[in-house]
Symmetry: C2
Subunit: 159 residues, 2 copies
């Protein structure tokens, strides 16, 4: 089966949201997905898009996607962040994930990004081993902190 990789379009967002929900379910967080197709279309395809996405297609069907955006490292400079790389369960083990991964790395390389970053669940040994085999490394000692919308509203109201 041939894998076609291409830029995502506005009309891909329903399929992209399905993949996002599939990953959230795998991570046991299905309730956490609050974005809608309309928000993805507005945020990804305006004059100042918040993200870009590559789509993997097999026989006309969207089977995977990689969603990424620019970040900035005060040590290295412009960097790319891979927010999600998702392959539909029925299409795993066919090289779709590796093809998307390579596409993102090539994109970052061609545009002179100084780093590509992403996050992985610490129990996902298969993923971690794959990333390491490609030259990436796990950054020890750092923890991610979130201020969610409810806490943000509360903090600002009390300030």
């Amino acid at each position: 089966m041939e894998i076609l990789l291409r830029e995502g379009k506005k009309s891909d967002m329903p399929a992209v949201l399905e993949l996002i929900k599939e990953l959230a379910t795998f991570e046991k967080e299905s309730e956490a997905v609050e974005v809608s197709v309309e928000e993805l279309q507005r945020d990804g395809f305006g004059p100042n898009p918040s993200f870009r996405v590559f789509i993997a297609e097999i026989q006309g069907k969207v089977v995977g996607m990689a969603l990424f955006y620019e970040r900035y490292s005060t040590w290295k400079g412009r960097s790319l962040h891979l927010e999600d790389l998702i392959v539909n369960e029925a299409y795993r083990g066919k090289g779709v994930g590796k093809a998307l991964y390579a596409k993102v790395m090539e994109y970052a390389h061609l545009r002179n990004f100084k780093r590509v970053s992403w996050e992985v669940l610490d129990w996902n040994k298969v993923a971690i081993d794959f990333y390491r085999s490609t030259g990436a490394h796990i950054v020890d000692g750092w923890q991610v902190v979130h201020m969610n919308e409810v806490s943000l509203n509360k903090f600002v109201s009390n300030a």
Copy 2:
């Protein structure tokens, strides 16, 4: 001593780079800083800036800064990432850090960002306790992965 908070300007970048280097030294990574004043000026002040920065001033001197940019959560939508919040050592304990932190949260709130994220060293208990006291939470179970420039070049050349 009055703390003045304001938007960073191109001419602040030498002072900002000094603060970045001060933090890197604190984190025992002084060699890791590769950005230059010229890169910060180019990347932060073009038509499509890669970051924004708030400056804290005391008696005309830059004593702290908070550098941030937009990210995108596929669960929540548009979010803000606080890359660095740094106060010069001689000016700690005067509320400069808290003032910058509150300024960033207010900025995120006013622009309807769905989340503010950042990273903290896992041994920095004072910082973690402060973040928690403001309603933020440490996200357990995720690890940060980096593909640096050298590994990226190698991976793409071999692909």
